[in-house]
Symmetry: C2
Subunit: 192 residues, 2 copies
């Protein structure tokens, strides 16, 4: 389990990355914002890499939660996908700091441990979505002329670019609202 201080460190680390990119995440900045000295950070995490790992785990648990719950709750595949989008938009809108981390895999390129971890996350999410699509195809909800794997790439790719553009705009428009329209377009696109 995480202590209060550990949670605080992760939260502030996300803030810093969100504000200034990965280069803004230094032990100095981290400690300054929390209000303790640099070495004190090492009472809670052994190294900076451990902090980054904790961030990845944090994100991983979060989406895994969303994905898995969505798999069970609704029964129509199209609704599942729509819900997935909506949940993500709401999530990002409430906590934009996560965004800067999630869509910046290059950030973790230094460490082989980190790159392996994030690779697996991406792969897993892709496979879960492909599975949902595949079920939808068997149910007769989703078109069959395009393989589930491609549809999953199309859906995820669209989501990612859309959110990224929102991030780049400085969050100037309403993500969940505009996202709703995009979800409708995607539904039309993949429906049988």
């Amino acid at each position: 389990m995480q202590t209060e201080r550990q949670k605080e460190i992760i939260e502030v680390a996300l803030e810093l990355i969100s504000e200034k990119g990965i280069q803004g995440l230094t032990i100095k900045n981290l400690s300054k914002r929390i209000g303790i000295t640099e070495p004190a950070i090492y009472r809670h995490y052994d190294s900076k890499t451990d902090i980054l790992i904790a961030i990845l785990d944090h994100f991983n648990n979060n989406t895994e939660h969303i994905f898995k719950r969505e798999m069970q709750n609704v029964d129509k595949s199209l609704d599942k996908i729509a819900h997935l989008f909506t949940k993500h938009f709401a999530h990002f809108s409430a906590k934009p700091s996560l965004l800067a981390v999630i869509f910046s895999e290059e950030i973790f390129r230094n460490d082989p441990v980190l790159i392996d971890k994030i690779s697996k996350v991406i792969d897993k999410n892709h496979q879960i979505l492909a599975e949902i699509v595949s079920v939808g195809q068997k149910n007769g909800e989703i078109r069959l002329d395009i393989e589930a794997d491609h549809l999953s790439t199309i859906i995820t790719g669209t989501l990612r670019l859309f959110v990224k553009r929102w991030q780049f705009s400085g969050h100037t428009y309403n993500l969940p609202e505009e996202g709703k329209k995009l979800i409708e377009s995607i539904k039309h696109l993949i429906i049988k």
Copy 2:
């Protein structure tokens, strides 16, 4: 115009970013690989930021070329889009070093000049593609029930994620070949 040495510096800089991410691009690494000393770099570029700007310009010129030529050559919109994909795949396959830069906008977060530059590039490309789609809709080639802007996001997002996944896999499969299949899927998706 660029001197031979300047071209070499940009090329090697791309290599380094490709291999180790932005943190791999240091004046030391750069000079070592070229085979000169660090201060010699400053005979050719005034600062590291100037090198990053040159990289962005390099990329900008490249895609602008591809996009603009494609706008004129073929007359069917669907073929234009297919060609655009194919060209990009071939381009990235031949020069994977570009990839690490193009899809890593966070890299440039330090400098406001750089972030403004890359924002404009992304926006411009999106608009060009949206325009192609829009023409295709008027011609009766592309479905009308989804707005051109959304279709452009869907197409670009798919392309980006697909290429990114290839990059993440360590270029283990054939990008142009697998890409061809994805292009077919997208064609089916947006055709009227």
